[in-house]
Amino acid sequence: MSRNSLARIEVFETSVKALPLVFFTTLLILPLASLLYAPFTVTLERGVDVLEGLSSYPFINRRPLGEFIVYSTGEPPKLILSFKDYGVIPNTIIAALIVTALATIIGTAVALILARYTFPGRDAMRIASMIPLLYTPFVNAFVAYKLFGQGGILAEVTGEVLGVSISMQGLAGMIMAQVFMFWPIVYINAFASMIQIDPSVEEQAENLGARGWTLYKTVTIPLALPGIASGAALVFIFSMEDLAAPLAFDVDNVVSIWIVREILAATDISQVSTETLILALMLAVSASAWFIAVRRYISLRQYATAEKGGWKGRRLRRPSPLLLVIIYLLILPWIIVSASHQIGVLVYAFSEDWSGLLPRGFTLSNFSEVLSDERVVRSFRNSFLYASTASLIIALIAVTSAYAVERIGGRLSTVIDVLATIPLAMPGLAVALGILALFGFTVAKGTPLDPFTNPGLYLVLAYAVRKSPFTTRAAFAGLKHVHKSLEEAAMSLGARRPKVVKDITLPLIAINVAGGLLISFVYSVTEVSTSITLGGLNEDQSPVTYIVYDYLTGGYGGGMFIHLAAAIVAMLMALQVAAITFVNLALKQRYAFIGV
């Protein structure tokens, strides 16, 4: 920095940088750091060796229990895919690795086919492959259980057709459910990368004799790797912190379930075991490591996406007969089954009973019942209040972060860049527990602001932190498209920076920010992990996703309550569809759901 700019303190620039820095430090860094602080002091006080605790049962099973496949005779005989129980930590990691590997292979294959081939039904497949991205808290995993869990549709059909009833349980079922839930994340990122590849790059390779699989292996996939890698990293993180699939398949020994059970059983942070705090920290650290590694990898490979590509010059070809058979016999059924998770939510929501193969009794009573339940109505009100307050905060943080990184630059801008995007990958459970550890254990303990008695405030802040990246990315994209010279022209005519921001920058990125905010809002309303942990601490302040969780787990005793939970989730789906349609059609933004 030159002495000239040092000589004059730039108030505006400094405040723009300070705002996101202070925000993320207070609500992300300090809470996560206190996850480490709390066990440390407890260990000192009680003399407990935390690491020794974590290296033994139930965290690590030195003698894994159970079998991979259970076969039982009967009429019909049953073949149940299961898994061994290696303990909380290995289970979580093994499952996440398997889910990531499968989701990456499937997501990339589907992306390649939909991005490069044209065939009857392609557009329908593209739309169907987006359906699993609709967020349907918890209920979709219960639909997965209905599809291939014990006594589910797969078991019924195979029992009839093959004479052997095939189903899944435990970790195997959880892994399968997560693959179904998460493969579209790889797909959407890989697809976005592939359609951005400059067509001339592939044409050049073909011109030199590369074709078919050789072309994909040597040019297309390597160029799409940044998208594939960021999708894969997100799948790994989402699998680790997922609660829905382990709940549906009754898996207790994974990190996410372990943490939630402990928090909801506690009335005070001192009742949360030190091992749990360390587990949450491990989640946070491994998620950050993945995130930063992928981001570094992507930034090293910026060449991959040439701006020019886009939709105009896309290259679509006809598949060979063999590939066409594969598409219709493998890919299409896969996409249909994936989408059926969301469709199953609607079936539950609009039916009286779905305990057999087919649902019975179309009804709207599930909706009228939940809407007449004071608890549900209050939770909706809470969620909308929290999400809209969070959106106000997000607007400020997102615009300042994006402006600081894209326009002001200099020292700390890389830090702001990482801080502003990392919440996308940060497990909500770690954020929730961190907030409890920081504010519940130290700062606000025993005051009216104690999160154990007054979690609403912290939910707002947690939503603002966790869902800000959607708006930040939108603002960032907006700024990228506003050429710097537009602002410099105003400056050269005598306008100071705040004036330039107000007159030129903000009007030109307003649409982007509005679109981002709508998405942040919707994802705040559908947020799960902090909602059920913090939100479960005081029923009056619970958000709507906590009620869904409660319906499915115990508060109401499970059973038929899945129809009511599904009715709530169906309303959340409608909200998402409305918001995404609005952003795409009215605001004319192509919105990518999720990505690093």
Partner: protein, 355 residues
Amino acid sequence: MTKVALDNVVKRFGRFTALDHVSFTVESGEIFTLLGPSGCGKTTTLRVIAGFENPDEGKVYFDGEDVTPLKPYERGTAMVFQNYALWPHMKVYDNVAYGLKIRKLSPEEIRRRVKWALELVGLSGLEDRYPHQLSGGQQQRVALARALVVEPRVLLLDEPLSNLDAHLRLRMREELVSLQKRLGITTIYVTHDQEEALSISDRIAVMNKGKIEQVGTPEEIYNKPTTLFTATFIGRVTVIEGVITKVIDNALVELKGGDVILRGFIASGTPRPGARAKAVVKMENIHYPPEPGEANRITGRVVVSMYLGWRVHVTVETREGVRASALVSPRNAPKRGDIIELSISPEDTLIFVAD
């Protein structure tokens, strides 16, 4: 009327030195052009003058006042960008009025001056259009009007004509010069197009690799280049490498390159027999058929004969492989394979002695 001076300005981007001790003075009211290949630092120089880049060393003066610490909005310059940088969300009127509103002029005064500026650039009546409703040439004029309307101390133009088609570029070039002469605003112009630079400028600074090679009038730059870079960058030239064989007097030497012997005048360096040197001749000064009075002769076989319309570009190669190119009238152009003789006057042969 403002005089601009740069004093030993250095600008680094990381380990790359974009400007290496750049100094020059722009007299008030003149059109001063920064000319050079892409990446030579000309736009960076302009941005340092505008205040968008802070120099790491050196100072910028307007009328003797040190403006280096001043922000872009405090300098009273106005810049026209290569991409025009018109604000897409504002109408033509609002684009042009913006700088006046910043200066808090009365609405009446703003209206009057916007009207004046739009008349000046010939765009009256288009006030209510949005930039995307204008042609490229019209957008360019709006950008110019927006800069001129604030009556800047210094007008900065960054390749303002490069996005226009060839015809429009020629017309805008003329208009720009007549406007500038009428208003008398000190103007600094960046371009990589030498014809543009030669035709509009009062003076030109040729830049290369972050340094100023030469500052001079268009005639001086063209006819009396003082560095090898300027000599070879401006115009179409033939370069013959060789060794100085004879120093006839301090200015006139004889150079031998292969089987070619040329007499020429020293443009830079100290002449001494045996020193390596390059002879640079503008192609239009190499004549075919040879002119009787010209002492330097090159005989060779025609290896290239390219029809350019107004001229034929002919390259000959001597027996020892020395190549020379001339621009020949299409009427008496030789064919490929012909053996011909070219002539050059020693006055047109510039010798650059290697250090």
